[in-house]
Structure formats: structure tokens, C-alpha cells
Symmetry: C2
């Protein structure tokens, strides 16, 4: 025992649980009149945002919902979704955000597995939720949310109410001055997000207050946010809790601009009318911005930072975004890492490179996020770091405070993911000499042909360099002679043409011959709601 | 036990101690070639800064210094001081930064009380350190630091070496690739700072890794730092570890510009030549900038943020700073709160106020820092918050993760400071209706005259509004009839004149009569090295 080990213990004055909930209370105290939320014609101040979140927490508490109980929501990027991110944990409860594209069966599984006590559902999804509730054993309190700004030209319709009460009626039960309590422990769960579950049942990823709070700071540093940022909701909030930006914005009393549907006109309107400074999304959102009709575009003068993930931004998209006035930051992470945990930290000297050189740098996933303690590319069997040579493929692994607590009620999967004291991402990549990682594939997406590893991403990147290619996805096709060979699914750009022979010849000019696709199929490439290509669907299509 | 309480435990993959040490390793990984430190003609990259910090940690470890042992430094704002902030805790040890203005007796007390095992001392201070070591029971390893950029026109001289070896020789013993270990626990001590101890022995304030890491993020948010900030060292790093900026800058791979002596020409040169974006200091530093000779001023185009604390910035100083191109942020805190824990968060609408109105807003200490969980003005006996009426005086109290662990080897003082689960600052203030606090006095500085409380700060503010007043300090003078009356010590501006009668008349135009000083004394006002007025010295002068 040293002198610093005695009489210097924790107490209420010098130790408080880390939680993002204190961000909102602080923003409401300092900036009660600042606009916290814009949603169509609705503008809500921080005073009201905080009061409504407390009403929600109070109403849940009065209905007996408390610490460690699950409150599910199936909501679009609306004010209610933002309130749920604060109000649910202020009641001590855990927020389960359900992907709005899921079918009834998976929704029912999630409600049962998480033992949901409440579900708040947007009327757009009431039909599928009713079906899910029919299949589920859980019998949560069902609350309808009738979006006050459901646009007249919406691509979907509202369904009928299915709940016991409407969201505003629930809020009316609560006290706007509710004396919410800090979490008992910063390790307490704050939210639950199910992975897409390409094989087997979805796994429930548990986040804690500590990690969510640290992401609040880390996002600010990584995204270069200062002053009062204005954030446009193009990334679904059900996706890794919107990469924790629902909490982050409160640190600087920034403004959330909600967006129910990601359409070009609405995005440009928000940027021009509300002074948006930041937005996030998959490359598809960038394509929507770039390829917008001229009528839908609006000029803007501020710098707008676009944080993208899910896939490296293709060179043409990067050039298009720059010409359109956006700065693109490439992020990478998984549901298990609270969203982004790796950032392509851009260096000023890279601006001297030519455009392909810049695109090659931008395609790297990068370095650990400010709040991540360690990032490595490792030989998974030996649990040793691979050489930083840009060539040796290993598994990308994470260690730190923005890694999930584990999978809910699934200790086997948690132990498997955490073996050796690192979170195993399942993604394969290399470590470059300069310490930046670059993904080469999902472990299951690597193609082994004649004993040689082929990175499907490398083949896709070659295909993307062809001017007619809109989307490319390469999977392994079983082959009697080679074991596997690369099979490419390709979507062409509207109005452009290219033959199978032409694309294969194009690849041969770029890649070693054994890496080139033996076959090209022109077809719509299936994607998740967040823009990730669903290779497991493509694999099922191989024999079609 | 709920479902979230099972099988979701901490492990090395999902839990790491919070520490600012990972900030430097990250900066060195991502930006090895960026300039971390500028000191005169010396420029040091992040690669070298990290390697030298590791050398220091390695050398200390090889000499048997480890967890929970104290390494003292008596250094100016030099590269060695920055290296010590990282290298000492990388060895698991605790950094004691000794105020360079202290006398031998207090230094000896600190070395003994902290059981210092090593002391690194700048040659400027070798004489007083030698004297202190003569008085001390502790027999630390003494290391001399010979500043490579000790200017020829320095206002002080180097003394003779007194140590066993020179700092560079110590570093040469260490391994630049030293595999430093994370702290065992984020609650482990990282540094020790003795309060100035106006009465009795100084108290040793213990900081932990957790708080230092959180300050890293909080400073960024509060100071509006983005990109790669350039920070000028006008605040002594021995003062609350330079408000934790030695660690903060690494988060964004910013540049430290060292400054051995705070002189106008050197500050303007740094701002113009190195693109300084941020600096911190007491109002005296602002006065030095504003009142510089025209020859010493340099034009600059960037926005420079000046964070000030110790005393509310007077109106004339604020106007002068604005005219000179600086943005002033007013911060408040104590050694016990890692430096700033309260920020005068400025609101855009306040820019519409006239200059006195703006100065009145700027004089408020403000709201809790981003990483502070709670701030209150309380009735210390009842431990109840005073009404937010801007009038009721109470004691300012803090609660959160940037409050010290306690006072070293002084459980009584710690218990007293933490009674009721709040850190008692000893400062008196009011809570305004809008949630901003404003200090009215130190508890011991309040003047009680005829049973009425008089805030010495209020009287000082009135005096500062007189154009001839450079510095004003008001203390209580014992009075047979009234108990106490306000006595003002005043320094006039060079070349300006004002009589005692004139200043008292000036006060009567601004204040209730009972608050006005009964007597004015024109004298040099004693200040600490950080610019704080030493009222205890003034009190001793009352009977002179």
C-alpha cells in the first residue's frame, strides 16, 4: 500500500457515473431557448426537449418501468426517437431500437428476447408490429406514435393505431420536472441493438452509459464539431443508436434536423435552410446527393462534413462530393463498437496527392477513434499482431471503452467474441506501415482460389473503376477445380452499358489474373436498410 | 437481478482504464511528423515527444520508480515539463509540480510530505532547491535540467548544477520503445498539486487518471478547439497541471508553444509566427498583451482564444482584448477541480448588449464544465441550494469526476472538504435566475460591516471602473464601531493620477454608501505567480 492508496476513496463529491444524460440537462440549463430539434415545421427548444424527455421518463416510471427493463421503439428519425434516447435511460430503462425494415418474425424474436415491457411504434410500422405482437410471447404496453410531420407526399402510408394509448397521451402522464436519477453504475445498460444476424438468430448488443458518454466526446473530436453544430439525420437512429449522435449533440447544444425519408430535395433544403454542418450515412446517401436533379439542389456556403461508413467511398463519389461542397470523413466500426470506432484521420500532406492517390488513402479505414484504447490486426490463432506491411491479412480487433458489454443472454457468443481479451470483428484487413488499417474482407467473404486468398473488396474496387459500374459485389462461387472462384454481381449506371467480357477485360488490366471474376451477373444487388450489401443473399443467388 | 446484470461483465476487450496517456500514443501513431512542441529554435515532432516521454518512463522504471511513487519537478514551461506530464505517469508514478516561486521551506515540506523519490529541477531554481534539499528529510535522486533555449536576455540566471546527473543523461538511460503499462486502475493518482496554503501547511491535491482524461475532452469542448490547435504556454504548467492542457493537446495532435517568460514581444511573436489559436492566463497576462509597446505588437489574422481565470476580466480589459483581436473566455475553478470546472458559456444574444452589459455577463463565472456533473450554490449548514435569485449568497460546491480524490495524507481535511457529498470550494457566490453562478467572495474575504455582508469583489469592480485604477483589492479592516469596514489597496496605471477622496466619491456613485471603502491605500498589490491577489498579505499590511 502506497501513500496514494490510503484515505483517497470515492465519494459522491468526486465520483459520479459517466452518462450522456448529464449532457442534455446541461444543454437545457445553459441554452434553454436554443433550437434542439427541427422536424418539418416543428421547432423544439432545449427546454422543451429536456422537459419532454423527463415526461417520458416520469411516465415510464409511474407505469412501473425501471432499471434494467427494456423499452422498445420502432421509430423513424423523428423527435420521439430523440426523446426516447434520453427519456428511456432517465427512467433507468434500456432502449431497444428496432430496425424499421425488419419483418414481423424478427421483430417478435427481439421483443421476446429482450423481454420488452413497452413498445413505441410509429404508425407507418403499426401493421408489421401488430403482426409481430401476434407472434410474440411478450405482451408489452403498446404506444402509437403519430408523427406530426408525416409529409403528404410520403412514399409510405400510416397504418391504424394498435396501441393502448398515443405517445402524447403517455407524455401527458409524466412530470416535466421529473427528478430522474443517475444510473446506479456507469456500467449499467443504456441501449440494446440487435445485429442484422446474417446467420442464425440476431444477437443483442448491449451498450453502457460509460461508452455512450465517451462516444459523446469522441464524435466531437473525430467529426471536428465546434460551436453549436447542426446535424442532419440521414443515418437511421436505429442503427447503433445513430452512432451515438443523439447524445453527442447535447454536449454542444447543437441542433438535430430530423428527416423521415432520405431524399435529395429534403437534404439540400435542410442544408440551405437550417445551416447543416454535419451528416452521416452510407455511400448511397452520398450518391443521392451527387446525382440529385439540378432542380433539387440548393446552394450553401458553410462547410458540410459527411461522415460515411459501411463501405470505402469510391473515388468518383469522393470527387463528386468535393465538387458539391462536402468534406467526406471515412469511418468504420460495428454495432459492437457503438458505431464508428475507427476514423480515417486525414493528413494535410495527402492533399498534395493526385485524385486516385487521395482516393486510395481515403479508402483506408484508418486509426482508432479518440475513445478507443487499442486497435490491431491480428493472427486470430496466435493472437499476435501481423506485421505492419500493408499485405499480411489478419483479423481486425478492438479493445477499449467503446466496445459493447457483450451479447444479451448469450454468454457463449460473448466469450467467442472476446476471446484473448480482444473483440474479434470478423473483418479481415491489413496494417499499413503508417499504422492505418485497411479492410480486405469479412472473414467469411474472403475467396480462396487455388489456395490463394482473394479479397472480394479488391475485386470490387477494380470493377468500380469502370465508368459504367454503379454497384459491384463479389462472392465466392464453388468450383471443382479451384475450390472457389470470384463471381461478380454488377448494377450498371442508368443509361450506361457494359458487357461481361468488357468488365472481365477491365479487371485483367487492373488485377492479377487469378483475382479476376470468372463470371459477371447483371442484377440488382440486395442491400440492408443502412446500405450494406447483403452478400449472404447473393450467395443464395449463386445457383439461380 | 435483471437480464442486463448477467453475463455482461468487464474484460480486457471492453473495459480499459481511462487515462490521458493513450492520447499521446495515438497522436504519435497518427501524426508522427507533426510538430508537438516549439521552444525557441527547437521543434519536436510527436514521434520524438512520445519517444522521449517513453525514455523518461523507462529510465525511471529502471531506477526502481514505480506505481504510487512521487516524482517532483521544479520546471518552467519547457519541453521537459511536457515530457514529465506523460513520462512520469507512464512509469506508474505520480507527478508533483512544484510552484517555481516558492521558498526553500515550503519546497522542503512538499518533498517530505510527498515522499519524493526523484526531483527534476531547472538550473534557474537550483539554488533554492539545494537549500530545500538541505532542509528536507527526503533524499530524492536529483536531476538537473539545463534548458536548451534559455534566452540570453533572460530576467534570471542559471544556477550551478546540484544533481547526480543531467536530464538528458537520465533520458539516455531509457528505452524509446518502452512498453509502458496502462494504470492499474483509472482511480490511480496521476499528479499531485499543493495548494498555496495561505494558512497552515499546504495541502496536497491528488488527481487521478480518470479525471485527467475527461478534462482532455472537456477542455476541447469548452475552449472550442478543433483541427490541430496551437497552444501558447502563458499559464504555468505547475498550476493545476496547466489546467490539464499538457494532456488535452494530444487528443487533437496540437502544438505546444513553450514560453519561459511571459513577455509581450515573445507572446506576439508566437502568435504571429506559429499561428497560436489558444492561450490561458490570469488577467495580468491580458494586461500585458493590451499594454504592450507598439514595437512589441505583431499583426495576426487567426482567431485567438484567451481563457482567463483567477478573477473576472474587468470591462476595460475585455474591450482592449477584443480590439486587439482576442476572444476571451472566462473560466473558474480551483486546484481541487483540476483547474477550470466552470465556464462562462457565452450566448450569441449577449452580443446585442452594450459593453457594460456584456462585461457584466462576462464577469459571471458561469455554468458547469462539460465533464463536471453538478455545480451548486448552497447554504453550507443546511446543505440546501440557495434560491436562483442572483442575490442570496451561498457557498459554491462541486460534484463530479473532475473533483480531486482528496488531500494526500490528510483525511481530516478531505472529509471536511467533502462533507455532505459535495466539494466545498470556500468561495461565496450567487445563483442567477438563468443558472449562471457569480462569485461574490472567498468565504474568508467577505466583509461584515454593521451586520451587513459586503462583497469585496463588488467594491473592487466599482474601483476598476475608474479610468486610473490598474489593480484594486479590498479587505476587511477591523473597526470598533462597525465590526469591519472595507479598506481598498489600489495600484494606479502608469501616468495616471487619482486621489483617495476622488476614488471614494467614485465608489459612492456606484455603490450603496455602507459598501464604499472608508480608506484607500496606494500600494503595490501582492500577487501569486499565477496572478491571484494575495489578500492574506494585504491583511497583514493593514496595521502598517
Amino acid at each position: 500500500m502506497g501513500i496514494y492508496d490510503e484515505h483517497l476513496d470515492r465519494n459522491a463529491a468526486n465520483y459520479q457515473p459517466l452518462t450522456p444524460l448529464t449532457f442534455l440537462s446541461r444543454a437545457a440549463l445553459i441554452h434553454p431557448d436554443r433550437t434542439a430539434i427541427v422536424h418539418g415545421s416543428l421547432e423544439r427548444s432545449y427546454r422543451d426537449f429536456y422537459a419532454r424527455s423527463r415526461r417520458l421518463a416520469s411516465a415510464l416510471s409511474r407505469r412501473g418501468i425501471g432499471r434494467g427493463e427494456t423499452v422498445a421503439v420502432m421509430l423513424s428519425n423523428t423527435p420521439a426517437m430523440l426523446e426516447a434516447h434520453h427519456g428511456v435511460p432517465m427512467a433507468g430503462a434500456v432502449l431497444l431500437s428496432i430496425n424499421t425494415r425488419l419483418d414481423a418474425e424478427i421483430i417478435a424474436f427481439q421483443l421476446d428476447h429482450a423481454e420488452a415491457k413497452v413498445v413505441i411504434v410509429d404508425l407507418e410500422f403499426s401493421e408489421v408490429m401488430a403482426e409481430a405482437l401476434g407472434k410474440a410471447k411478450a405482451a408489452p404496453l403498446v404506444v402509437d406514435y403519430d408523427d406530426p410531420d408525416f409529409p403528404a407526399d410520403a412514399p409510405a402510408k400510416k397504418g391504424e393505431p394498435i396501441g393502448s394509448l398515443e405517445y402524447e397521451a403517455l407524455l401527458a402522464e409524466g412530470d416535466p420536472d421529473f427528478d430522474w436519477q443517475m444510473p446506479q453504475n456507469e456500467w449499467d445498460a443504456i441501449s440494446l441493438n440487435y445485429t442484422s444476424g446474417t446467420t442464425g438468430n440476431p444477437k443483442g448488443v448491449v451498450y453502457h452509459h460509460r461508452g455512450a458518454a465517451l462516444m459523446g466526446y469522441a464524435n466531437i473530436v473525430a467529426a471536428g464539431m465546434t460551436g453549436h453544430p447542426v446535424y442532419l439525420w440521414t443515418l437511421p437512429m436505429f442503427h447503433c443508436n445513430g452512432w451515438c449522435f443523439p447524445w453527442t449533440l447535447a454536449v454542444q447544444a447543437g441542433t438535430h434536423v430530423c428527416l423521415r425519408w432520405v431524399r435529395a430535395r429534403a437534404m439540400y433544403d435542410a442544408i440551405a435552410d437550417h445551416g447543416v454542418t454535419h451528416l452521416c450515412g452510407a455511400p448511397i446517401v452520398m450518391a443521392t446527393l451527387i446525382n440529385a436533379e439540378e432542380n433539387d439542389k440548393r446552394p450553401f456556403t458553410q462547410t458540410v462534413t459527411f461522415n460515411t461508413a459501411a463501405a470505402p467511398p469510391p473515388q468518383a463519389v469522393l470527387a463528386g462530393m468535393r465538387d458539391a461542397g462536402f468534406e467526406v470523413t471515412h469511418l468504420y466500426g460495428l454495432t459492437e463498437t457503438y458505431g464508428p470506432a475507427v476514423v480515417n484521420a486525414w493528413k494535410a500532406e495527402w492533399n498534395e496527392l493526385d485524385r486516385p492517390g487521395q482516393a486510395a488513402r481515403k479508402a483506408r479505414q484508418g486509426v482508432r477513434y479518440p475513445a478507443l484504447e487499442d486497435l490491431a490486426v491480428m493472427d486470430g490463432r496466435k493472437m499476435e499482431k501481423v506485421p505492419a506491411d500493408g499485405e499480411t491479412i489478419g483479423e481486425v480487433m478492438f479493445r477499449g471503452n467503446i466496445v459493447m458489454r457483450g451479447y444479451l443472454k448469450n454468454p457463449e457468443a460473448s466469450a467467442e467474441a472476446f476471446r484473448g481479451g480482444w473483440f474479434h470483428s470478423g473483418d479481415l484487413g491489413v496494417m499499413h506501415e503508417d499504422g492505418y488499417i485497411e479492410l480486405k474482407d469479412r472473414a467469411k467473404d474472403i475467396i480462396i482460389s487455388g489456395g490463394e486468398n482473394i479479397s472480394s473488396i479488391e475485386v470490387e474496387n477494380a470493377l468500380y473503376l469502370h465508368p459504367a459500374v454503379q454497384t459491384a459485389a463479389v462472392v465466392a462461387k464453388p468450383d471443382d477445380r479451384w475450390g472457389e472462384t470470384p463471381l461478380a454481381f454488377v448494377e450498371l449506371k442508368p443509361g450506361r452499358a457494359a458487357s461481361e467480357e468488357e468488365l472481365i477485360a477491365h479487371c485483367r488490366a487492373k488485377l492479377a489474373r487469378f483475382k479476376c471474376p470468372k463470371e459477371i451477373r447483371f442484377a440488382e444487388v440486395p442491400k440492408t436498410s443502412t446500405g450494406k450489401i447483403q452478400k449472404y443473399v447473393l450467395r443464395k443467388m449463386i445457383d439461380d
